[in-house]
């Protein structure tokens, strides 16, 4: 009912009688299974056999959210029940762990086939949170670390899967929660050492593999303020961070000036210079207007150099106009460029990017060009 990337093909909708009969048999088998599961669950027959039927059905249709709910109901019951292989009464920890492991396997296999199905991600998250309640902190940490490795594999297969990126941030938060000492005393600097540094390194690795990975650039922009706070970075270290990031993006721009992911990260860095930037998001805290002007002028200088090789890259003109607008906001004069330059850049934008003509017209009006 909402398909993506499935070819229509020729003669769609026409089936041979044989194919039709075969499909009718498949429908009957599927509906029998649905009815069987629903009946057993309505009767609260929460047995291992019913759990297996649920597994079979979810393998056929992982989008069937009510069946995932049935699974959770059955599992909740089974976690509290004695181990069938064990004669001792009361819930068995080993039995519960077996159940958790089998659900981690099930969701792993399903995610490989359906990496964008919300319900599978949700179930995996649910089962891990339940598992935590059975185990010691060390074991819980192991569970979530393995989860981080799994996400690494998923992102290796599809580096832009936003379910996986969201889940990665969630898993990191769980690991950080488990590493925090349980006492109410303020943690020492080492104990507070979170995963921010290693996650930042991870974005570096992802970007190096593929400059065009905006998901990684985005995560980097989220990590930088935390990283600086955790390092208790002073003015010098903060300026170094900004300069290093600008140098990194400058290299990236030179490598592929037509890639918008890179320009968005450049915009991010520029936005942290702005007077409007909230203090907690700033990279450098003690910028004077003179500093800002220097940064803007420097950016414009090297972006202009790209024009020598790439005079048909609209992102260059857009960035120049953006920096020029920022420059004018902090300083009245225009030493780094003239109004004629700005008019020329705007004309180039209109020439190179007619799809967004309305936007360039509005931009010209707002810059009074």
């Amino acid at each position: 009912m909402a398909s993506h990337g499935v070819l229509r093909g020729l003669g769609a909708g026409v089936r041979s009688e044989e194919a039709r009969q075969k499909e009718l048999q498949q429908i009957a088998a599927y509906n029998d299974l649905v009815e069987l599961v629903n009946t057993k669950v309505a009767e609260r027959q929460y047995t291992i056999e019913v759990l297996d039927l649920i597994t079979k059905l979810l393998n056929e249709n992982p989008e069937y959210y009510t069946i995932w709910n049935h699974r959770r109901r059955a599992l909740r019951y089974l976690f509290a029940a004695p181990d069938p292989k064990d004669s001792s009464p009361g819930p068995s920890k080993r039995h519960a762990q077996d159940l958790v492991e089998s659900d981690l396997r099930l969701t792993f296999l399903l995610l490989r086939k359906f990496p964008k199905c919300y319900w599978i991600w949700n179930h995996r998250n649910w089962i891990l949170r339940i598992a935590e309640s059975f185990v010691q902190t060390a074991e819980a940490r192991k569970l979530w670390s393995e989860e981080l490795q799994l996400i690494g594999k998923m992102l290796h297969a599809d580096s832009r899967n936003f379910h996986a990126w969201s889940y990665r941030r969630f898993v990191v938060a769980q690991l950080e929660r488990l590493q925090a000492p349980a006492t109410s005393e303020p943690p020492s600097r080492e104990a507070r050492q979170s995963l921010t540094e290693s996650e930042f390194e991870y974005t570096t690795k992802m970007i190096k593999t593929n400059l065009s990975n905006f998901s990684a650039w985005h995560n980097r922009s989220e990590l930088i303020p935390r990283l600086l706070a955790e390092r208790e970075a002073g003015s010098v270290a903060r300026r170094k961070m900004l300069d290093d990031e600008l140098a990194l993006i400058c290299t990236a721009i030179n490598t592929d000036p037509f890639d918008q992911s890179i320009w968005y990260y450049h915009q991010y860095l520029m936005s942290t210079l702005s007077l409007d930037c909230p203090p907690q998001d700033r990279i450098v805290h003690d910028l004077s207007n003179h500093d800002r002007q220097k940064y803007y002028a420097h950016e414009m200088e090297y972006i202009r150099e790209i024009l020598e090789d790439e005079e048909d890259c609209k992102w260059v003109y857009e960035a120049l106009l953006h920096c020029a607008g920022c420059y004018l906001e902090v300083e009245g004069g225009t030493q780094a460029f003239t109004t004629r330059d700005m008019r020329y850049w705007l004309d180039q934008l209109k020439r190179l990017d007619p799809l967004r003509k309305g936007r360039w017209d509005d931009l010209g009006r707002s810059l009074k060009l």
Binding site: N61, N122, D259
Partner: protein
């Protein structure tokens, strides 16, 4: 869009062939959806049945064929999905969830059927409102989808959408919901599924539309987000959902409606987008696909048609960019 002043009153028949919308074929395609019980896909998609009905019904209304599905049958089906706790499931026997509750309310509003709801279920409207209100997280202001607690800005938007259609927004803490949306804002002006998540057109639609319902569009950085949204248009006219991704008809709705809500519809080339959407039609059997040549489905059909309506394609009924429902229905429900 120049089509408005283009071929004049000649209507669709006078249009160049690449600009033609196959209205009758789309109507027949949507009518056929509930007769395809001999296809496995029909059964495998039962978990989307109520959404599908909302998509199909809305498409028919926008196409100017509001009576193409029998009103009584639609209402009976919708009410057969309603649980005692006030939530709707995807189909009879499916668990209640926000996603289907919103579709249920939207269908009842479109069919002007809240009186029928009260007749068949005493206090029905309040029950539904309470189901939704109970899903708000009192700490953060966002919403869960159901009793299992997963949260997502899609559910927050759904809650404000359905409650406002029923005149029950006072049941929830709107200010807290607004503050939560703000915490999902990114430097590029967009929004993600939760704080810290990458901007994504679908989530931007839900956040901007929720702010519109709350009357707080002043919190959106119009120029920055408008710029990001306008960059979703690719050379072939289609729109993508995030930087460096492929174009897809459903984004013509998420992106275009957000641009409309920000008063920046003119920041992309509407004519080129219209041509792209029209290329995604199945000219023989009706329906619209994600991309030209792909399998059609009712999801892309409604969002393609709604996109064309925002672009003022001649002959289509005006769509509301916040609710994705006919504008006239929203005027009646909200009194504005």
């Amino acid at each position: 869009m120049s089509l408005v002043s283009g071929p004049g009153r000649g209507g669709v028949a006078a249009m160049p062939v690449e600009m033609r919308l196959f209205v009758d074929k789309h109507v027949r395609y949507i009518q056929s959806l509930d007769t395809r019980k001999d296809e496995l896909e029909y059964w495998l998609t039962e978990h989307l049945r109520l959404n599908g009905l909302y998509w199909g019904l809305t498409a028919l209304h926008l196409l100017g064929h509001p009576d193409a599905l029998a009103r009584d049958e639609v209402i009976s089906f919708v009410l057969s999905c309603l649980h005692d706790n006030g939530g709707f499931g995807a189909a009879p026997g499916h668990d209640p969830h926000m996603l289907y509750t919103v579709s249920g309310v939207q269908i009842l509003a479109t069919l002007d059927a809240f009186d029928e709801l009260e007749k068949r279920v005493t206090g029905g409207r309040n029950k539904i409102g309470q189901f939704i209100a109970d899903l708000q997280d009192p700490e953060t202001g966002t919403f869960a989808g159901d009793e299992w607690g997963e949260q997502d800005t899609r559910f927050l938007y759904g809650a404000l959408n359905a409650l406002s259609l029923m005149g029950l927004l006072h049941l929830v803490n709107v200010d807290k919901a607004v503050a939560y949306i703000q915490s999902c804002a990114n430097f590029d002006g967009g929004y993600g599924t939760s704080p810290g998540a990458e901007s994504h057109s679908g989530q931007i639609f839900t956040c901007v539309a929720a702010l519109a319902i709350a009357g707080r569009l002043d919190l959106v950085d119009h120029d920055r987000l408008g710029a990001w949204l306008s960059e979703r248009q690719l050379k072939n006219g289609g729109l993508n959902g995030r930087p460096e991704k492929k174009e897809d008809v459903c984004y013509s709705w998420w992106v275009l409606s957000s641009l409309a809500n920000l008063d920046r519809l003119h920041w992309i080339d509407g004519d080129k987008l219209a041509v792209f959407i029209l290329q995604c039609q199945d000219p023989e059997l009706g329906g619209i696909a994600d991309r030209p040549g792909d399998m059609v489905d009712v999801f892309h059909t409604v969002f393609g048609i709604a996109g064309l309506s925002l672009l003022k394609y001649p002959g289509l009924v005006e769509v509301d960019p916040v609710y994705c429902m006919p504008r006239s229905v929203i005027k009646k429900c909200l009194g504005k």
